[in-house]
Symmetry: none
DNA sequence: GTGGTCTAGACCACG
DNA sequence: GTGGTCTAGACCACC
């Protein structure tokens, strides 16, 4: 499971972990029935605290995307196609565009940045 | 001033306020020279503490979007003096793209949403 | 950590703290990776409120000089990630020159002081 | 009396006014015995509040540089050659240089900026 | 009356 | 235990 976290970001690590896994599930890369690594193992892989991964898994469980089986890891349970609503999307998108416009970026710059970052994000998860 | 905040959101209130005003300025709704409500006034309107609004205003001032003059309120400055750095841009962009991926949007959907919103934002500015 | 503040000064305490740390970082006394004291610790040392130190740290974070990680303190980042904009530069420079003119220094005195101090600052860095 | 103030600066207007006059006196442009404009007139010239100019004059009086004569303006009284101490100078200079180094400016850039700004400051007052 | 700053204390998110 | 945020209230600088 290829996950990249940015410790220097202001987004909580547990959320980065959860979000990356969510994207994989929603995107179909992780099908229902797939077994996720144990909390302990993923924590070791990422070099983060076990609590952090546990929190991420708990969030995934709350979203109904995985089932945590005591002693035997977690399993992807859902085929949900969306875990974010339109309002959040619009707010985030508008904020990002505003930031880019403030940076003096032109339409072409913005579109290029979007495709680049999109490419980077989805490639990391392949 | 049309600002709505969500106390139950996980985004800090001061940031919600700052971001909303930022969008209004970049969108042109708040033109350069416009006088913002006083800290106390806006705090009363929103039902939050004075300091919370003051923090939001300070952030806008650091971004160069408004000028705060002791004893005489805050005014919107020219957008040309504003600055935004690459870190802020990347952070916002990455967050927005993640949000869209979580909504189950595919590459084409995302690009369309970006161009649409970009169009909407810049059109408002005229 | 050698920091001294002057409560009777007209410069805000949080800015004094931030500026002193900034000089230490740029001068190389605080190298990248160095862990700063916790907010509570430094506040206790200086005899000021926690929030005051937190404000100073936030300013340093906004400048990209330190990275604050929830639950695990603040560390000095590489100077290369730091940013400073033209406004800050001009403001500081104008203030310094005015101060020197008020001290009765003439053009030659000022230029010599600048080169001397510049030499001292960059030499410390090695 | 050629005085320039920057309302967008974070330095208080009254201090800008006071400092500019101080520089003129310390620099010898305004000799002892010279009569300053009335508070009312200078306020009108600068487009600022009368209180602001009055505060500036009061500071000059406290520094022993001028004498305020009730009803007949203010007169330069001193030939003091310095109204700033070495500690303030060093602090301001170090802060400005730190800011410029953070902005990525090289030695040559810094020296040029200093001479440029110095020229601008002293020319304004001729 | 305006914003700036600081304090004290509280609660929460994070690791 | 760490930092983040918010509140309430106070005092000060500024205009």
């Amino acid at each position: 499971m290829q996950i990249t976290i940015h410790t220097d970001s202001d987004r909580p690590i547990y959320r980065q972990v959860a979000d990356e896994i969510k994207v994989l599930i929603v995107g179909g890369t992780l099908a229902a029935g797939t077994v996720l690594p144990t909390v302990r193992q993923l924590a070791a892989d990422l070099g983060v605290n076990m609590n952090t991964v546990a929190t991420a898994y708990r969030e995934l469980q709350n979203d109904g995307l995985i089932a945590i089986r005591h002693g035997s890891g977690a399993v992807v349970t859902s085929q949900r196609t969306a875990v974010s609503n339109q309002r959040d999307v619009q707010r985030a998108l508008r904020g990002a565009l505003t930031e880019m416009l403030l940076a003096g970026m032109r339409r072409a710059d913005i579109l290029r940045a979007v495709t680049d970052e999109l490419h980077a994000l989805t490639r990391e998860k392949s």
